[in-house]
């Protein structure tokens, strides 16, 4: 689960991770009031969407407006908020249509001496949390990782004991941070790593992380993703979820126990198991087609789930054909065939449907599909299925 920057900063504040003062605003008037309340001569107005690259992102409706802007008066804060609110911000991480901006964050300004990059993730290779810091702040970190990986410093830490002081000293030495700033860095990094563990984060990313002219380390940005599997012990965090930021079909799928990810192609896929679902997308591509989605109905796959899965797939106007690929292990092919037949009658297909069944009671299942009177194209194996579904829309 992702949250907004202003929500992440509220969590930072509670955990003593240094951030600047700021207020969230849903109207230009609120943005004006926020500037006045901050009381400084400068502030930054930032679009709140679940996507990075906001600073360079452009607003579709007001092309001159970027997603993050420095303002010098309450009036200017209101104007920028007006340009952003209700409009769509397009960044390198959003779809081409952009993400709708429903709120902005008006934050105090500060005098920046240095910009850094910081992230905490769980490193699957080392089986431990990993703190990464880079001297290349404020820029695209992917580029740094690709071109100059040595500029990203790494320290693993044990979640039970947290980040140790000597680890921060090592980082500071390599980054050329000393004196008061190094003290501030130790406080900052230890608190942040503790927050990462305490809140079961999957990722915490701060870009830029800054050192101010008075030697304080402060999080100028804050991106947090939580481990969905750990949400059962953080009922308070669930309230931070913003459904406006999620694909409606993906929310609908999750509510039915399905895993769905929308893609750009035109062949809808309904598969059981995540690995097989990925492999099904691969084989469609291998034979010249383009998958419209990833959809895993899970190991069980009952009639209700299959029906909802078909509805979700067909809610995508790009879908021109559907491929069903089921390996009947625990779920028998006859059960799956019955679900497909009932779902087809319920949903009513307007596009070709190719079905590949394999596994327990496969012959009986295929017979049921044949005798159902439905216009189902039956496939023998994976290759046959992919070829037939690609041919059906050629």
């Amino acid at each position: 689960m992702k949250i907004h920057e202003y929500q992440a900063k509220e969590l930072f504040r509670k955990a003593q991770v240094p951030v600047l003062a700021g207020f969230v605003a849903k109207t230009p008037e609120e943005a004006r009031a926020a500037f006045e309340k901050l009381g400084g001569s400068i502030a930054v107005v930032k679009a709140q969407v679940h996507a990075g690259g906001r600073g360079k992102g452009t607003v579709t409706e007001v092309p001159s407006q970027r997603g993050v802007q420095l303002v010098k008066s309450a009036e200017e804060a209101a104007t920028v908020a007006r340009n952003l609110l209700g409009n769509h911000l397009v960044t390198i991480q959003t779809a081409a249509s952009g993400a709708k901006v429903n709120q902005v964050f008006v934050e105090q300004g500060c005098k920046i001496a240095r910009e850094l990059y910081l992230a905490v993730v769980v490193d699957r290779a080392a089986q431990m949390p990993l703190l990464m810091v880079s001297s290349e702040g404020g820029v695209e970190i992917e580029k740094v990782a690709h071109e100059t990986p040595e500029k990203i410093l790494r320290e693993h830490f044990d979640p039970a004991n947290g980040l140790q002081a000597f680890q921060v000293r090592k980082l500071c030495k390599k980054l050329g941070i000393s004196g008061e700033a190094a003290k501030s860095a130790e406080f900052f990094m230890k608190k942040l790593c503790a927050l990462f563990v305490e809140l079961d984060c999957a990722m915490a990313e701060i870009n830029p992380l800054v050192i101010t002219e008075d030697n304080k380390m402060i999080a100028l940005d804050a991106k947090i993703t939580f481990d969905d599997n750990a949400m059962f012990r953080h009922s308070d965090l669930k309230e931070l979820r913003d459904l406006n930021e999620e694909e409606p079909a993906e929310i609908r799928a999750a509510n039915t126990g399905l895993s769905y990810v929308k893609l750009d192609g035109n062949i809808g896929c309904l598969v059981n198991g995540a690995g097989l679902a990925m492999a099904t997308m691969d084989i469609i591509k291998h034979h010249g087609g383009a998958p419209a989605n990833f959809l895993d109905v899970g190991g069980g796959a009952n009639t209700q789930q299959v029906t909802e899965a078909f509805r979700i797939i067909l809610s995508d106007p790009n879908v021109k054909a559907i491929l069903v690929n089921i390996f009947g292990g625990i779920a028998r092919c006859t059960t799956i065939a019955q679900a497909i037949i009932e779902a087809s009658k319920e949903v009513g297909f307007t596009v070709p449907l190719v079905v590949r069944l394999e596994g327990t009671e496969v012959n009986e299942g295929k017979k049921m599909l044949r005798e159902s009177g439905l216009a189902i194209i039956s496939a023998e194996d994976l290759t046959d299925a992919a070829k037939k579904v690609v041919a059906s829309i050629a």
């Binding site: 290779a125 990993l130 990464m132 990782a145 979640p159 750990a230 198991g273 690995g275 998958p291």
Partner: protein, 291 residues
Amino acid sequence: MSILVNRDTRVICQGITGKAGAFHTKGCKEYGTKMVGGVTPGKSGELVEGLPVFDTVEEAVMQTGANATMIFVPPAFTADAILEAIDAGIEVICAITEGVPVLDMVHVYDRVKRSKSILIGPNCPGVITPGECKIGIMPGYIHNPGKVGIMSRSGTLTYEAVWQTSSLNLGQSSCIGLGGDPIVGTSYIDIFERFQNDDQTEVILMIGEIGGDAEEMAAEYVKNHVTKPVAAFIAGRTAPPGKRMGHAGAIITGGKGTAAEKVKALEAAGIVVAQSPADMGVAVVEALKRR
């Protein structure tokens, strides 16, 4: 021979009184696995599928001589169940449960690597030695005793590979579902080592997927330590980057983790890589020819 489990393995089920635990205990027993009991705290004295239920794993081990367990307890209690099995000295622990918090696994992994136990999973189908012992949720009948050692991070894709190798009359020595979570108890390399030392295994099939660098590390290991023929498939060639992984996740390995990169590393290690998931069985045959 086989790896990890065989006809003498004595298995308990943690979470045996739950719906999934009871159902799969029945399935494993019917397959011929030596199921000897189960554990659910507070339910000792009950019988499930004619098997005694115990309050603790320690008690179950003392009473039944169990040396393997399959875990079906809910995700919130899985770490505790695994730690209990390690404490009781269980040799093979299969955690089937899906949805275990990743930081719980950081702690569990640290414990398991300092113990004599081997942990398979979590979020995995389990382990099977065809004709001898099935621990987990895989459909037993698709397997045949044979020469292919199979390991995978994905469940149904493993079934697909088993099906293809069974259809080609190769059969399987053992099949290991490593689990799809970011942190799992056992790596490809651990299993490569066991298959390499197993007489029955003549060829090894590894099914990987995008993300992380476990496949690249396995390729390096194969190059230096595995003399048996190896085939592989990588799922997710067409998966959009960054959809499941955060940006910071992608940079850990410095740009590694794409399907193309993994395939390159595998081929450089002399591994036959199936271009399509329909060709996993064919790739195994091809690998056998190269020997």
